[in-house]
Symmetry: C2
Subunit: 226 residues, 2 copies
């Protein structure tokens, strides 16, 4: 059986990181046409013998040197004209990066890999702006149904980091007192007997995730009205 | 730029229908190798110039003649050895069918298209059993976060149909009194001044969806503890 089909398969990765109380996204500058010099999601064509996830890991390692903490398939983009060269079906993934890995990635190849604040993205190659919108929407949706910060925060963090992560992802202000009360009522965070300053106010207690409760909530599902 | 890649792209559709208070799934019997004579999801290779969604509609029309009511991308399956002929990446969709369309489909080509009760599926070709598990999981997850029955029930239905749809998808008994109280409190269903019998008990009032409330709930999101 011969299938006459000239479609190519690629993977693209939307890699989110959280630093300086802002949500960031990892982009690379394209060396080749099309969109030479333009900014794009890291990614590339899948090799004949590797799984889709292996292709994502390989491309991220080749292009960005970033260490990701979480990877999930997002959506497959297959419009016939999304690549001007030939038809490419892109299986998009979304990935989360801890602040530690964040710093490393940015320092390796600063010329053509860079973290961008999601509120201030450059023009993007192909349909990557659409893929990013899709990923942001997924991330926003997840906030309501599962605890998300785990993949993006350091082991220990200030409550203000956690709160601003939510405000940033939702892209809207949060009723702070109400938010704090709700989050603490979930039993998802453990308050530590250890203080740190956020650089502005008085030192405040650090928090960490209660992993047991985290995985329980993830499995059972919940709805967090935000 | 030449990309040396021999991967083919296909679509597969998990088509759910609900009849006789049981969740059903549409399967076709394969005419060709591999898995000749075996049961499989409807689907096939994407043409060079059609979108992925168009390919799903074309394959469903060619193979099953079913009219679907709702279509959503499910997940992309890309393990290198999932097709014994050559590497095929399958973009799987899940679709819902109204009972009316259900009957038509089953009567057109009964030899090689058939509805199966999801609790009693035959052996399946390729990794289609895995794709179906994924679709069932998605459907179960959706029950908690959005009103689902809209895509599967007739315009007017008995509350017992609605309840059994939930019990079937969840594959577990439901606390009936509690379920009815909760569902009615959502304002999602409108009780009509019209009766029908389910063939066993006394005639009961028919219900229909309140579309306004349906789309409001879908947009806002909610959590239905089941």
């Amino acid at each position: 059986m011969t299938i006459h089909q000239t479609i190519k398969v690629a993977v693209d990765a939307v890699v989110f990181g959280y630093r300086n109380q802002a949500l960031h996204l990892l982009l690379i500058q394209r060396k080749l046409e099309p969109y030479q010099g333009g900014w794009a999601l890291p990614g590339g064509f899948v090799l004949d013998n590797e799984s889709l996830e292996a292709a994502v890991h390989r491309e991220l390692s080749e292009e960005t040197n970033v260490t990701i903490n979480y990877l999930e398939q997002l959506y497959t983009f297959g419009q016939p004209n999304r690549d001007p060269r030939f038809r490419t079906v892109a299986v998009a993934y979304y990935a989360l990066v801890k602040p530690e890995a964040f710093a490393i990635a940015a320092s390796t190849d600063a010329d053509d890999v860079r973290w961008f604040d999601v509120r201030d993205l450059p023009d993007l190659a192909f349909d990557h702006a659409e893929i990013i919108q899709h990923a942001l929407q997924r991330l926003r949706g997840k906030l309501r149904y599962e605890p998300v910060g785990f993949g993006l925060l350091s082991e220990k963090f200030l409550f203000s980091d956690f709160e601003k992560l939510y405000a940033t992802i939702l892209d809207k202000p949060i009723d702070r007192r109400n938010f704090r009360k709700k989050v603490l009522s979930f039993g998802l965070l453990t308050e530590l007997n250890e203080k740190r300053s956020d650089g502005k106010g008085r030192p405040a207690n650090l928090f960490q995730f209660n992993e047991d409760q985290y995985f329980k909530m993830k499995e059972r599902g919940f709805y967090f009205e935000l």
